[in-house]
Amino acid sequence: MSTQARKTPAAAAPGGSQKTVKLVLASLLAVAAAAAWWLLFSNLERLSSLLVYGALGMSRTSRLSSALAFFIYEAPKVLMLLLVVVFGVGIVRSFFTPERTRRILAGRREALGNVLASLLGVVTPFCSCSAVPLFIGFVTTGVPLGVTFSFLIAAPMINEVALVLLFGLFGWKVAGLYLGTGLVIAMIAGWTIGRLRLERWVEGWVYATAPASSAAGPESRTRWIDHVAFGRDAVRDIVGRVWPYVLAGIAVGAGIHGYVPQDFMASIMGKGAWWSVPLAVLIGIPMYSNAAGIIPVVQALLEKGAALGTVLAFMMSVIGLSLPEAVILRKVLRLPLIATFVGVVGVGILVVGYLFNIVL
């Protein structure tokens, strides 16, 4: 039973034991990586203080040092969280494909369909450039319009990057609120749009398109290594694209943190300013930022006295309603439907914003 027996290629059980060795090594590596990650992560704030106030000898009360410490602490912290989250969610997403989602949703009635579509919107890999083929594919195979919209609302709005960054920075309650309200908005808005019977505002040729049988994409893979590869590709793709925006967002957050006086935001975005919620939603609609970049800004705003509802509303309308996506959807939807879509979702976000400001 010695290790020598396992390493000899001509041993009694070759293929199986080599696989086991690989599995054991991979697991050890994973554990070591996780431990190293955790060690660094839990000491970031200390390291940042040490660097800024210790090594660089800056004053603890200056605005510059405050901003700098914020940046040096937050930047690696956010990036490290991002790495882990995108990887994990990538693995979850590797179990779902738009094809599978479509099959689950085809022919569903509303209400239940809206609920399913919203939940699936969170876990199905989705890119706004495939919004159009996805839309057409769904509606031509019997997925009701409202249900399709529930999916299209949930998918971009409930962003895993945003979710775990919120969790990391504000705790599970805020993250849970974001997830819960995002789902509810997707369900109700999609259901509402379905009820309004707006099919006539879909470009005619869409419904005339013959529903295609599913393309021969890669069959579902069950090997764990394919799932890991999906996660790794997700990291390379998403983190690779997003990190400059993250750093920019943190820099802005650091500036706000260091230079904007405490409670400054309270007058503009605080609970007392009732008009701040609609304003935040309106400003957010044409803006588009990936979730990772906007969260540090959110954090700094909250720190300076902005109300949670207002800030969440702002964040959701920035992430959830994007001008680029509306432009893309123009290919299949006529303007009244796009306007209704934006309006219904906007109102939903508004209600959520007010609700939180009142309740919390």
Binding site: C127, C129, A212, G217, P218, D233, D237
Partner: protein, 78 residues
Amino acid sequence: MKIEVLGIGCPKCNGTEANVRKALAELSLAADIEKVTDIQTIIQRGVLSTPALAIDGKVVMQGKVPTVEQLKLLITGA
């Protein structure tokens, strides 16, 4: 060999085409590369998420930008 890149023209589709060219160059192979941007055609091929890749008429991958390595495997396996 005919390679089609299906997509309505976002940066990911261009990235796919670029990777296809790189893969072919590295393999020293020649192939007909065609970009399919008409949404009707894309749908009729059963593609739900772009960018998608078809080799000799058969859709082999959709939903993400394939790396040069993945492309080389797909091309030589076709």
